[in-house]
């Protein structure tokens, strides 16, 4: 039955702030200026001043609250249900950690405050470093990188500097070794970060089991110009690289170093440590494994952890501990690291995320950290088992914290991964990661994390099976999904052809 409406549902048609804006509305009040006013022209010559802020909206406070509250309801989120994005580790975001990050003594602390007046913050960073070193088995830590890719860049640049220091440079200042090996299954940031650090990328094949091809690795190492390897472990197929030690040995024998992408550490914390596998340097995603909120795309934090050998190359400043008088600890920022690659960011990293990650580690406790890892892997296994008969599993190695399927069995009827993903939305779930890794056709990478209960996992499995059935009996329903959202599939191709990247007054409609 169709309903005619005078106004479409109010929470379904909230306009842009610019369209809502009405000249003269005001959402703020400042204290009156409490100093005698200087004439504008004395403050600044007219040619350096602007006349106005054309187009910036004018709204009352209730307008603002209503606007952002309404559009927020168009988002799916962890607190609503399963968010099984493979490789993203969408786990529960503790409110306690949010509260900790907002404690005034942290939130109002200026980064350039004298060290002696910021000892609490430095201690937080120092303690977090200690715990991350223990968790990764790698003693050298920098919390400066702002995200995973940033940590990757930091790590591979350290490899670059280490090699240059060790091998010296070839005549003409060219680096002797400039090949970075990266599996074809790697995340896009890996090659991008390697490139940014001046390496040329060579791709390693994966085996039919979804593991790094040792043969191919040996071949590539033979060339002699190998600077290192960037490996994700468990890899992006959710499989643990069981030859990891051998792989590391090969690279080391070839004179290179091993970088591990730590995005999948949620499968390992408390169970195995990269440092014990022969890895030289790794980044962690605090916004994955350590549950700092994704925030719709950030902020993140990508600490870099390395061996003692690489430590001199970590970014400055380092947070260190000195024993002051009657040796109580005094925390300090150490800049005197001649071999350091330098800064990768102003100040000291995303401190707010450091607080949350430390709170996560202390709330779980050492046994709780392992418990979370076990629960995460168990949940992935539960889904793997539940969907094994329904969807194609490209590799039969047992999955760790995430499980990979493809759309192979569904494509006959023209239903592809994208359609399955969109249809999942109608069942109340966020889709899994799709078309990644690139090495399998129509990849569906599912990571439930430890934060979901049995019953909801089963609901997800039932939904996937039902969609598989629909794909055969009622393909159109799947091909046209989602059916329950405020808008249907958007024409992304058209959007990219003629990109509209900002609102312009021309487009002004009637606001709410």
């Amino acid at each position: 039955m169709t309903i005619t409406k005078a106004t479409t549902h109010i929470t379904q048609n909230e306009s842009l702030v610019f369209e809502r804006s009405q000249t003269g509305r005001r959402g703020y009040l400042l204290p009156a200026l409490d100093v005698d006013e200087t004439p504008l022209d004395e403050l600044l010559p007219a040619e350096l001043r602007r006349d106005d802020l054309e187009g910036v909206p004018e709204l009352s406070e209730p307008d603002v609250v209503r606007h952002f509250t309404r559009i927020s309801t168009w988002n799916y989120n962890i607190d609503l249900g399963l968010y099984p994005l493979g490789s993203c580790t969408m786990k529960y975001n503790s409110r306690l950690n949010e509260r900790v990050a907002r404690i005034q003594g942290f939130a109002s602390l200026h980064p350039l405050a004298p060290e002696e007046d910021a000892q609490g913050a430095l201690e937080v960073m120092y303690e977090l470093q200690q715990h991350l070193a223990e968790i990764t088995g790698l003693p050298g830590i920098s919390l400066q990188p702002a995200a995973g890719a940033h940590g990757e860049m930091t790590g591979v640049m350290m490899i670059r500097s280490f090699l240059d220091a060790r091998d010296g440079q070839a005549e003409g200042g060219a680096a002797r070794r400039n090949v970075m090996l990266i599996p074809d299954s790697a995340h896009g940031t890996n090659p991008a970060s390697a490139h940014l650090s001046g390496f040329s990328v060579k791709t390693i094949r994966s085996t039919p089991e979804g593991l790094t091809d040792l043969e191919h690795l040996r071949e590539l190492c033979a060339s002699g110009d190998v600077a290192g390897l960037m490996l994700t472990n468990p890899n992006t197929c959710g499989i643990f690289e069981r030859n990891i030690k051998e792989i590391c040995r090969h690279i080391h024998e070839a004179g290179g170093l091993v970088y591990m992408d730590g995005a999948n550490m949620n499968a390992l914390v408390g169970v195995a440590r990269p440092g014990d596998m022969g890895v030289d340097v790794i980044h962690l995603n605090l916004h994955k494994t350590f549950s700092t909120p994704h925030g719709g795309g950030g902020p993140g934090s990508g600490p870099c952890c390395c061996t003692a050998e690489l430590e001199p190359f970590l970014p400055v400043p380092r947070v260190v501990i000195n024993r002051g008088e009657n040796d109580n600890p005094r925390f300090a920022l150490d800049y005197a690291r001649p071999q350091s690659i330098g800064r990768v960011k102003a100040f000291y990293g995303n401190f707010g995320m450091h607080l949350r990650a430390l709170a996560y580690i202390l709330t779980h406790g050492n046994t709780g950290l392992r418990e979370a890892t076990e629960a995460a892997v168990l949940n992935a296994r539960f889904i793997s088992h539940g969907l094994a008969d329904t969807f194609d599993k490209p590799f039969d190695s047992p999955p760790m914290h995430e499980v990979l399927f493809t759309d192979k069995r569904q494509t006959r009827k023209g239903v592809h991964t994208l359609d399955i993903a969109k249809r999942l939305i109608d069942y109340g779930f966020h889709p899994m990661t799709i078309y990644f890794p690139l090495i399998v056709q129509g990849a569906m990478l599912i990571e439930p994390t430890e934060s979901v209960g049995r019953a909801e996992l089963q609901q997800f499995i039932d939904a996937m099976k039902e969609i598989a059935r629909e794909a055969v009996e009622d393909a159109d329903t799947v091909l046209n999904a989602p059916h329950t959202t405020r808008i249907g599939r958007l024409d992304e191709a058209a959007a990219a052809r003629k990109p509209v990247l900002r609102w312009r007054p021309a487009e002004k409609a009637t606001g709410a």
Partner: protein, 446 residues
């Protein structure tokens, strides 16, 4: 562990259902010799009560957080409307992932589109991205982009750019075949002086910060003409976004790329992060921009929506050929900035800027009048300025902190050992006249 829904008993049942005898068996694919034999040597679990006490104790050690402060230099104390934090704490915003599935991410996507638009309005540019890590990495990315656009390899950077931004740029270009050259700063004015001889055909870009690190407002327009004449790009850096409310926009001055630190717009100091980098440029360079972009798209019924677009620039498609390696950016902070700009709005952003300038002028007059203190730079300023003390600035500021309970500013010796007596004072709308008078009184005594 109270964050794990399935109880130990439930997990046992699930294991049995999978034909596994114990949790250990979940890790059979990991070689035994790299399996941890004993528990991690991290502390045992803390209850909520204990954890909060622990962090409250640590926070209390950050004595600087409780003092009136005149610190700026890349991080600024501004008023942030209360609604910002209450809105970004909605789980719909803060627990969502990057909006890869537009049908159930329109809230995030529309907010980013609004962010991009307002960044363009403030900077006077055509296109802005969804955010960079912070101002410093945004500047480094601008340098890399200038090379991509011009295919030239030398970049001239003002000596009055924030020293930490400069270091970051050096790291980013270390292996990119780009050479950074420093432009001198005029002792007397405090402004960058452009040695035209250096502006040859190898120069990809000239990078100028305004207001610069010493608080001085640069003559961007004149730079623009010379830079463009040499076929290079003008990159303008802004560390104090509040200045957008008063200063002619970089775009209006001829900038080709504008990068800024957005922290001033409602983002807590939080000891240096998370902050957010703003990145804007000209329409014609849109496809060279790093990071995510949100654009308008329509569904079959012609309903307007928003999507991540021009993804072919990005690492997940382009891999090593991407315009940047950035993936996760500063989404939630960009949202906070969006809510700030919307709440303060057209008039509020200007009023904040005006109050900063007014209070700074007052402080400057008061300090200039002090026996023994001078203000070395003559150029116009916004809300920061250098003070030259009759004594070593570090010790002076320490005395102010302990004796007068005020953080008087930043000793420039931190970055410029050759300037022992200089310190940088920043005044914002949050500094009360009484605080300024206290600072002045303290300086007088010292």
């Amino acid at each position: 562990m109270r964050y794990i829904p399935n109880s130990p008993e439930e997990r046992q049942e699930m294991l049995r259902g999978l034909g596994l005898g114990s949790a250990e068996e979940l890790f059979d694919s990991i070689p035994a010799d790299i399996i941890l034999s004993e528990p991690l040597r991290t502390p045992a679990a803390l209850s909520e009560i204990e954890l909060l006490e622990r962090f409250e104790t640590l926070a209390a050690k950050n004595t600087a957080a409780r003092r009136p402060s005149f610190l700026g230099a890349g991080a600024y104390t501004h008023y942030a409307p209360t609604i910002i934090d209450s809105l970004i704490q909605r789980s719909e915003f803060f627990t969502a992932y990057t909006p890869y599935q537009p049908e159930i991410s329109q809230g995030t996507l529309q907010a980013i589109f609004e962010f991009q638009t307002m960044v363009c309005q403030l900077t006077g540019m055509d296109v802005a991205n969804a955010s960079m890590y912070d101002g410093s990495t945004a500047m480094a990315e601008a340098v890399l982009m200038a090379e991509r656009v011009t295919r030239r390899t030398r970049v001239l950077v003002s000596g009055a750019v924030h020293p930490e931004y400069m270091r970051v740029a050096e790291t980013y270009v270390a292996h990119a075949g780009i050479e950074l050259k420093r432009l001198e700063v005029d002792e007397e004015t405090g402004r960058t002086s452009l040695d035209t001889a250096m502006l040859d055909a190898s120069v990809a870009a000239v990078v100028i910060q305004s207001p610069n690190f010493f608080g001085c407002v640069e003559e961007l327009k004149s730079f623009a003409d010379e830079v463009h004449a040499a076929g290079a790009l003008l990159v303008v850096v802004v560390t104090e976004s509040a200045s957008f409310g008063l200063l002619r926009s970089p775009g209006a001055c001829g900038a080709d790329i504008v990068v800024a630190e957005g922290q001033s717009f409602g983002v807590p100091l939080s000891f240096g992060g998370p902050y957010v980098g703003l990145f804007a440029t000209r329409e014609k360079y849109a496809r060279q921009i790093p990071g995510r972009l949100v654009g308008v798209a329509y569904d079959k019924e012609g309903r307007r929506g928003f999507v991540l677009t021009l993804a072919t620039r990005e690492q997940h498609i382009r891999r090593e050929k991407a315009t940047s390696n950035i993936c996760t950016n500063e989404g939630l902070i960009a949202l906070a900035v969006t809510i700030y700009m919307t709440t303060m709005g057209r008039r509020g952003i200007q009023e904040v800027a005006a109050q900063c300038a007014q209070k700074t002028a007052y402080a400057r007059r008061r300090i200039a009048a002090l026996e023994g203190y001078t203000l070395p730079c003559s150029a116009p300023i916004f809300n920061e300025f250098v003070v030259r003390a009759p004594v070593e600035a570090g010790g002076l500021l320490r005395r102010l902190a302990t004796r007068d309970n005020v953080t008087g500013g930043l000793a420039l010796s931190r970055y410029f050992p050759e300037r022992p007596n200089d310190f940088l004072v920043c005044v914002t709308e949050t500094n009360k006249r009484a605080d300024i008078d206290a600072l002045v009184a303290g300086l007088k005594q010292s």
